[in-house]
Symmetry: C2
Amino acid sequence: MTAEIRNIKLTIAYQGTRYSGWQRQKDTPTVQETIEETLSDIVGHQTKIQGASRTDAGVHAEGQVANFLVESCPIPTEAFAAILSGKLPPDIAVRESVEVPLNFHASGTAIHKTYIYRIYTGHPKDVQLYNLRWQVEYPLDLNAINAAAKFLIGTHDFQGFTSAKDTRENAVRSIMNAHAWWSADASELLFMIQANRFLYMMVRNIVGTLVEIGRNRWPAEKVAQIIASQDRTQAGPTAPPHGLCLKVVEYLKNSASTLDTQARIGDK
Amino acid sequence: MTAEIRNIKLTIAYQGTRYSGWQRQKDTPTVQETIEETLSDIVGHQTKIQGASRTDAGVHAEGQVANFLVESCPIPTEAFAAILSGKLPPDIAVRESVEVPLNFHASGTAIHKTYIYRIYTGHPKDVQLYNLRWQVEYPLDLNAINAAAKFLIGTHDFQGFTSAKDTRENAVRSIMNAHAWWSADASELLFMIQANRFLYMMVRNIVGTLVEIGRNRWPAEKVAQIIASQDRTQAGPTAPPHGLCLKVVEYLKNSASTLDTQARIGDK
């Protein structure tokens, strides 16, 4: 049994449909609470986890990241992923568990996050995957969407793409990548966006705006105008949560990499 | 407004996850009840529908069939599909609505039904599609499964593949087709089975048995032995409901085809 404290980073996938989002709330099931309860059972005492991203109700994840501290626990770090996946409900899995430095915080030290938004433009009502994609009834112009997405890239004040509920004083964010493509069978438009951090509702407000542009209701330059206006009322409607999936959260090497194994051999 | 009675056949798709199966029950949501309530709202009075197949809780459909009688209703037959799809929840859609002879019964006159069962054999826990496929942790031998499936084809007493709950006296059914194949990326094994009628739990008991054979725990001939034994305790475990989807229900031309339009012009 190791007596020292370990900081363990989890990479987590979930289908968000049954949950009221990531963050723990009263009287409604959340992903955080579900994992914390399972984890507490495994380690034998109440354990809190810190998530990288507070995904909304109905939003999915393939690469959510969370970390937790554990002391005097006989379970090897790498075993947490399989043990948690085995005990969690079928819609939550832990893909990886690695040890990270004690100063690693899943929410604080991320360098960028990547989301994918799925839009289904096929005609029949999409019942089998209704909770994984936004069904849009109109044909979408991919070139127009990608021309508009180019205006997002760079460091801008994204006040115009957030929601009133976000009270953080500073809305300046850096978008490294934003582009869309058709799925192999051309029935589904996928949109990828990568930024250092996101504001509340930012991806969904961007997607809602891009769909208006893809329908040729607005020109691609509308995105630049919304950014310049810093006025939320200029942007399109908020896209629904269920098309959104948090794909990856990346960290600086020195904060997120596993600890040097050599340095720890003496402890084991 | 047409004053006469019409018998209308619906082709229905649903994700069964949120429902306690097709058939109306007390105090729990079912697909039948959900459609009946929406339909009753549309036509303005209580309306019952007859389904072709009583799918279990969690089982999906792409081609469930149901019919209902409607009298003195101004809504054109073909419009029911779109009107119902628009008002139903996102996990139920009506693909088609056509008029059929008054003696058509969705459950009574079907000539065969086709089910598809999806088995995911990839390694990571399958969270995004957990409710659409059965995740099996072992590699499966497709040739063994198809060799076993051949023993199913034909007219046999399938008592050995039903469940005690099925009290119909006669378990003789005719299977026209039963075979499995890998999906394009080889992560998913699909099994198709077509029969004149199915017994309670029959497809899921067959799939559970085929997986035992695919794991090389039993020889392919085990299927012939189970049929000969007429003993349910000989078969494998019941596969879970969520991998199963009712694909198609087919009818004899003269019972299910739309009525001759010419014959009805005088009524409109």
